[in-house]
Structure formats: C-alpha cells, structure tokens
C-alpha cells in the first residue's frame, strides 16, 4: 500500500515538474501577458462587440428596407424608439446605416491588410532571405514608393483604377505594401542566420518551406502588431477617401460617405455628422488599444 502511494506521489511530482518545464507555445505566453493589460483587453472587448453587432445586423434590420430605400415622408426625424438615432435626409434609419457602414469599413480594412500582408510577406521575406541584389532591387523600389505620402498613393491608385469596393481594397492594400515589406524584411533579417534555419537547410528543406515554416512563425510578432495598426489606419483612410468622393459612394452606407452627405446638413442636423464619426473613433480606438497592448505583450522591455 505504501508502495503504491509513493509511486503515485512520485508520478504526481513528475507531472508537476513536467508542467513547470514544459515549453509553453509563443501564443500562450503572449496571450497571458495580454490578459494582464487592462487597456488592451478593453480594446479587444470593444472590437469584439463591434464585430458581433456588425455581423448580427440582419437580425434587427433589413439592409434594403432600412439602409438603402428612401422614405421621403420620414426625413430628419429626431431620435425616437422607432429610430434610435433618428433618420437622415432621405428618411433612412441612421442607426441601421451606421451599423451596415461598419460592415463595409471593417471588411475593406481587413481585406486591405490581407492584400498588403501577402504582398509584404512575399517581398519582405524574399528580400531578407535571399539578400544580395534581390534585396537591393526590392528595397530601392520600396524606397521610391515610400517617398510618396500614403494618402496620396491611395488616392492616385483609386483614381486610376476607378470607383468600386474591389478597387478600393486593391488600392489601399498596394499603398500599404511598401511599409509592410520593410517591416517584414527587418523582422526576418535577424532570423535567417539562426542555427535552426541552417539546420533546416542542411536537412534539404526547400526555400519556401524554410521561409514559411521556420522563419515566419518566429517573425510573426512585429508583423501582427503592424497588421493591427494598419487595419486601424485603413479604416481612417477609407473614410477619408470616401469623404472626398472616391472609393465607396452613395447610396451604399459607408462612414466617410455618410459624413460627406451630412456636411451640407450640418448647420441644422448635427446628429447626422456626429454618429458616423463616433463609430469611426470607437472602432479605430479599440484597434489601436489592442495593437499597443500586443506590442507591449510581445516586447515587455518596451513597456515602462
């Protein structure tokens, strides 16, 4: 009896020791640090709530009837139980338009980051991995693109491609690519000389496998932070472009386009201009908080 007890006790001990020394995954460590950062968690919660509201919009509203169709007898209604934020100059429910606008802004923002991440990873990682003339040529091109201010670049691309949502995504993604490739390059650069990369190469792994399986997972930290911040900035740029009449236009509800419409009504109907703005601030703020928190969690040294 005593023997079994000692066996189970030593087994327990071994388990505990195993737990103590078991290597936690990188994401686990980051998540644990992020959990302690109250502002970052606030950002994450707000952003999740926004996502849920935006995705579940169809439960409360009908896109065609509430956000697009015009009800001219209902123009400029004050907030009431029927229309929580009132109605705009075409009698459309403001709340419904703000929510559906979020669907478009966030979708374009996230699609943008997908485009610039893909391009940025391909360009940045190959520049850092192959070095030499590949690096030189790619980075000189990137420098040229970086010389053009970001908003101007997006504006020129949308103007050239024409107004549509797909073109907007392409334009925004391309104008974010140079900065992203720069970042990926600097994140990858330190890793290419690591021993495990050499080991993988000596095992005969292909370049693509080394880059995607061995290097990128170890460089993902700064890329993730930049991605979060880029989504936040993209939401701002999209609204700015739509505001000056590029990108997404009426009657599609988009925050910038709604503000542009509200500008002419501002003197008497200020609430039309306030609501989309507050929506932009809330979503950008939550993403910024999350991005800052991620940065601190990835590199605790930076947090003072």
């Amino acid at each position: 009896m005593t023997a079994t007890e000692t066996v189970s006790a030593s087994g327990l001990q071994a388990q505990e020791r195993f737990k103590k020394y078991k290597k936690k995954s990188q994401f686990r460590t980051i998540w644990n640090r992020l959990k302690k950062n109250r502002l970052a968690m606030l950002g994450l919660i707000i952003f999740s709530v926004i996502l849920i509201i935006v995705l579940g919009a169809d439960l409360a509203f009908d896109y065609e009837a509430d956000a697009i169709a015009q009800h001219l007898s209902q123009r400029f209604k004050h907030p009431s139980w029927q229309h929580l934020l009132g109605t705009d100059q075409y009698g459309r429910d403001l709340l419904a338009r703000v929510i559906y606008g979020g669907r478009i802004s966030l979708f374009v923002g996230i699609a943008t980051i997908c485009v610039s991440l893909t391009m940025g990873i391909v360009i940045g990682a190959s520049a850092a991995y192959y070095g030499g003339w590949v690096d030189n040529v790619l980075m000189r091109f990137t420098d040229m693109f970086l010389a053009i201010p970001h908003t101007l670049m997006a504006l020129t691309l949308v103007a050239a491609l024409g107004n549509s949502m797909l073109n907007l995504i392409l334009a925004m993604g391309l104008s974010n690519t140079p900065r992203m490739s720069r970042l990926v390059r600097s994140a990858v650069l330190g890793i290419t000389e690591q021993d495990y990369v050499k080991a993988a190469r000596s095992c005969g792994a292909k370049d693509s496998r080394i880059i995607f399986r061995h290097i990128l997972p170890n460089a993902i930290g700064p890329i993730l932070v930049q991605a979060t911040q880029t989504v936040a900035r993209s939401v701002l740029t999209i609204s700015a472009l739509s505001f000056i009449g590029l990108g997404i236009s009426e009657p599609t509800p988009e925050w910038g386009a709604m503000l542009s419409e509200a500008k002419s009504q501002m003197r008497y109907h200020a609430n039309l201009a306030v609501a989309p703005g507050v929506a932009i601030i809330t979503s950008v703020l939550s993403l910024t908080l999350l991005g800052d928190g991620l940065r601190d969690a990835l590199d605790p040294r930076l947090k003072n």
């Binding site: 040229m144 101007l152 505001f243 503000l259 003072n304």
Partner: protein
Amino acid sequence: MLRYIVKRLVMIIPVMLGVTLIIFSIMDLTPGDPAMMILGEGATPEDCAALRVEMGLNDPFVVRYCRYIGNALKGDFGKSYRTRIPVFQEILNRLPYTLCLAFISIFIAVSLGLPIGVLSAVKQYTIIDNAAVGTALLMTSMPSFWLGMMLILTFSIRFKIFPPLGVDSWKCFILPAISTSATSMAALLRMTRSAMLEVIRQDYIRTARAKGASECRVIFRHALRNALLPVVTVVGMYFGVGLGGAIVIEQVFAIPGLGQLMVNAIRDKDVPMLVAAVLFAAIIASLINLVVDIMYAYIDPRLKSKYVVVKIRRRSAS
C-alpha cells in the same frame, strides 16, 4: 558636413525620377482615351485619331515618359484637358494655400506635442500624464476631417468665432490647421514621451543629478537633447502625412488648394493635372524629408563626427 549634404542632394534625384515613373505609369494604366476626353462625346473617330497623333499618344510608353521628363525639367507639365491652361501655372496658384496649411499645422503639432510630451514623461502616471496620453490616443483615432466638421459646428455655427469656409483672412486658417495638426501632434506627443522615458532612465541622467544639476537643466540639457533625435525624424515623416491630410481638410473648409485641384482633376479625369499635382506634393514631401535629415545630421554629433573624421583623414593623407 558639406559632403553629407551633397550626397543627400544627389541621392534625391533617382528618388524623384522613381516617383515620377510610378505616378506616370499608374496614370497611364487608367482606362479612357485622352483625345476623346478633350474633344468631347460628339467627336468623330478621325478627329480623335488625328489628335492622338498630334499629342504623340501612340508612341511607346518609354518615349512618352522621357518626353514628359524632358518637358517637366523645362517647367512644362502639359495642359489641362478641361481648361487648356498650362498645368504648372494652375498648380503654382494653388500651392501656397496647401503649403501654408501644412506648415502651420506642423508648427502647431511641434509647439504643442513636444512640451506636452516632455511634461507627460516627467510626470509619468499622474493625472496630467494620463490626460495627455488619453487625448493623444483619441486624436490618433479620429479622422481629421471629422474633427474639422466638429470644430466648424462648435466654433463657427454655435459660437461664431471663426468663419467656417473660405480663405479671406488669417482667421480662416486656424480651424483647418488645428484639424490637420491633430494626428501629427498626437504622434509627436507619444513619440516624445516614450523617447524621454527611455532617456530619463539612463546612467548619465543619474550622473547629472548626482553632480547637483538643477532638475530643469537635467531635463532640458541632458535628457531632451538625446530624446529629440528620434523625434526629429518623425517631424519630417509627418509633414507628408500632414500634406495628405490637408488634401482632405481642404474639402471641408473649401480652401482652393492642391487638394481641391486633385479632387476636381479626378472627377474630370484630367490626367495631366492630377499627375502634376500628385508629383508636386510627393516632391515637396521628399524635399522636406531631406531638409529634416540634414538638420538631423547637425543635431546628432555621432553623424557629424563621422564626416568630420573623414575630412581630417583625407587632409593628413594628402
């Protein structure tokens, strides 16, 4: 030092050519026939073809690009498709408004962002710091054109202090400049704060304190001078951001600057006007960046000494 400046000035030439090439080729891909646009919908195909030959639109891309560069060096950026007046003239008329706006806004950003950033680092985690950082966070999350609309709502419509539109007096520039500067000010504040916080923990600051230097001297002479280095580069970068922001802000406040020119050119598909306008904005942004880089060399003794040493070595060798 002169060598560094000359080197930087020479390096700007390929960048300029690259910027021109990028913008020119993007615009070249735009669908639509320029000849058709000039002559209008009612033009016959023969007229269009004749005009295309006359304008050299049938030449290969490289030929057209080289011709554009050659003409641009002579100050000829083509004629507007719509108004047929030289593009260069129109841009020179508009440029002062945009530049004025961008400079005032960067001035506001520096004169508010820097001191508040320093203050917030010195008083870390106090109410002042939290308020400053919170405001900065809010400002970075705000579209500048929306801030402009809200400023009009408060100061023009409610209190009637500033005019909401136009460029008639200096008062007209205050609200647009504030709204343009918000983003850069917030970024500068955050940057200064984190740079100061990093410097304040260094050993030489403790040494300075131990020597009995006054707090004021420690902060401004020992800490700020070192913290300023990363901040200066940000100022140059944010000039470009300010220029981009000014383009949107001009739409809010009806300022007849470069931004309005661009938006109108896009609406009318006026390609030469748009290419030249974007080109000018990009070139100004890179020139300002260059000036900031040169200033940086003056501030950073390490960079300065690098070039001074080279000079001395050369003298002794010869």
